[in-house]
């Protein structure tokens, strides 16, 4: 489904995107993601297709706000039956079918405050499905879940959405959700700056803002020096880096270069300082992050390095230590540097 919306308040947005399968809109908090969903649901005034000017009760959308907004005075089945018409027993029957569909047949008699976060979400989906929506809108679907159950709930949710074949637009700032989307759109500066498969967006973020949203912590302005075959040579603060990227090789052009924290390799020795993409530098600080180590590293540019346990085993970096790191040519990414 094509979604084109223009908002002027509470934030200025100009959105143009496709919603097919499980589509995720990724954006920072406060950039208008919730406003977009509310606009599509008809709850705030906006211009756009579909549903231009149609009152909310006549739009066939299923909207799940953060926290799900189940009716506290109604039992689970009554929540699900809210949008249904007809005799009580017929509504009950249909509500039970929908609860069964989301795996909650036995929870019909319970009130929302007697359900877990994941169960509340499923009741809310069943309630939205009762309306037979053409489009599902999910606002931060993982925000009300604890991290332990998040993966599990997310898997069930996406499985259900794919089975139902209802186009779904989920907005989030959580790139873990973005990673499992069928299609990923990124919101920045009030518009969609990139929409593609998550693999493509994660591998080739179009801009620095997108890169930051998909988890890049090392982003620097750089300049292209030349190219040779499939490699581009980039000048970064005095260092010369080789990047495997066949496109964008205008000489002298300003460009952004980035690498993920966990793709920087800490070398076991300080020999070979002149090897390709090697940087010498000093460890500024080391912080345990669960089983991994996060290292603040000072070289020609400051780097954020994440060393997984599998790599770090046996060796622990200390502040003040001088080490050599390499930025693998295949792991460096180039993108527009405009923001």
């Amino acid at each position: 489904m094509r979604i084109d919306y223009e908002l002027s308040a509470p934030v200025r947005l100009s959105i143009s995107m496709d919603a097919a399968g499980f589509t995720v809109l990724l954006g920072l908090s406060g950039t208008g993601k919730t406003s977009l969903l509310r606009a599509i649901a008809g709850l705030i005034s906006a211009r756009g297709t579909p549903y231009d000017g149609v009152p909310p009760d006549l739009r066939r959308v299923g909207y799940l706000p953060q926290g799900y907004a189940l009716f506290p005075h109604l039992r689970a089945w009554e929540n699900v039956a809210f949008a249904l018409h007809g005799a009580r027993h017929a509504r009950r029957e249909r509500a039970d079918e929908l609860l069964d569909l989301v795996g909650l047949r036995d929870a019909g008699e319970r009130y929302p405050d007697q359900l877990s976060g994941g169960q509340q979400q499923r009741v809310a989906i069943a309630r939205a499905l009762a309306r037979e929506p053409e489009l599902l809108l999910l606002d931060e679907p993982t925000s009300a879940l604890d991290t332990v159950t998040r993966e599990e709930v997310l898997d069930e949710l996406t499985g259900l959405i794919r089975r139902l074949k209802i186009p779904t637009l989920a907005v989030t700032h959580d790139w873990h959700v973005a990673a499992i989307a069928d299609s990923l759109a990124v919101l920045s500066g009030g518009r969609i700056v990139q929409q593609d498969s998550p693999a493509r967006v994660f591998a080739e973020p179009a801009t620095g803002a997108v890169a930051r949203l998909v988890g890049f912590r090392n982003l620097f302005p750089a300049r292209i020096e030349g190219h040779e075959g499939g490699s581009v040579f980039v000048a970064l603060a005095g260092a010369r880096l080789c990047v495997r990227a066949p496109r964008r090789a205008d000489y002298g052009a300003p460009i952004g270069i980035g690498i993920r924290s966990d793709e920087i390799v800490v070398q076991p020795d300080t020999d070979g300082a002149s090897d390709e993409n090697s940087l010498m530098g000093t460890v500024q600080g080391v912080r345990d992050e669960g089983l991994a180590q996060r290292v603040a590293f000072k070289s020609a540019v400051p780097l954020d390095i994440l060393i997984p346990r599998s790599v770090a085993s046996g060796r622990s970096l200390r502040a003040g230590e001088v080490v050599r790191v390499t930025l693998p040519a295949g792991r460096l990414h180039l993108f527009d540097w405009r923001d």
Partner: protein, 255 residues
Amino acid sequence: MTPNRISLAVAAAAVLAFLALPFVGLALSTDWSTLGFTTGDAGAIRISLTCTAISLAIIIALGTPLAYWLAHSSFRGKAVVEMLVLLPLLTPPLAMGILLATLYGPYSYIGRALEAVGIILTNSPAAFVLAQVYGASPYYVVTARAAFEGVNPELEEIARTLGKSRVATFRLVTLPLAALGLAAGVGVAWVRALGEFGIVLVVAYFPQGIPVKLWVNLQDIGIGAVYPLLWLFFLIAMPLPLVLGTVSRRRVRVT
């Protein structure tokens, strides 16, 4: 129990005793063997009950939309509107009665115009109801407004996205969720209307309801003569708000 908890319990008990003391005093002072009504007491009860019922219906019918509107809209000058609602509440009852007499009395334009179509707003059942509505409606509007504001607006929005019109949303979501607060408002309005004395004294001395009749009994016969009617007054006034108040605190689910 820690010393702190003990002193807290003692303080609370002292306040409760202070609050209950007048009622204990009344129970002890009443001469239960010769308890009997004086002439006109029955009529006063009838007047109070019918007029208060009518006033309450008017207050709910007019106050509910106003309270909902106040809870749901924001506009320039809303503070002025809020002050208008509070104005009758903040005006001393006797002063309010004088204002009403000035506005609706037999020598005013409005009074004369209404008299021409057969509505007399001085010393009439209509005047009695008018006085009660002025006295009690702000209490209902303020309470009902708080009740409506207590309903999460997101729930009302969700109801709309689930295909319900504004009216259906009000009936199926807003009203049930605000019901206890509204009930509390009704309870308070009932007591205020039934007990309205100051305004009634000025604009509707007749027909005599319970408060004015109590006053008359007190003046004409003495304090012993007011006890029977006073007991009945409590019996009529208190059950509704007490029950509503207790129920609203017991119900935890709808919050």
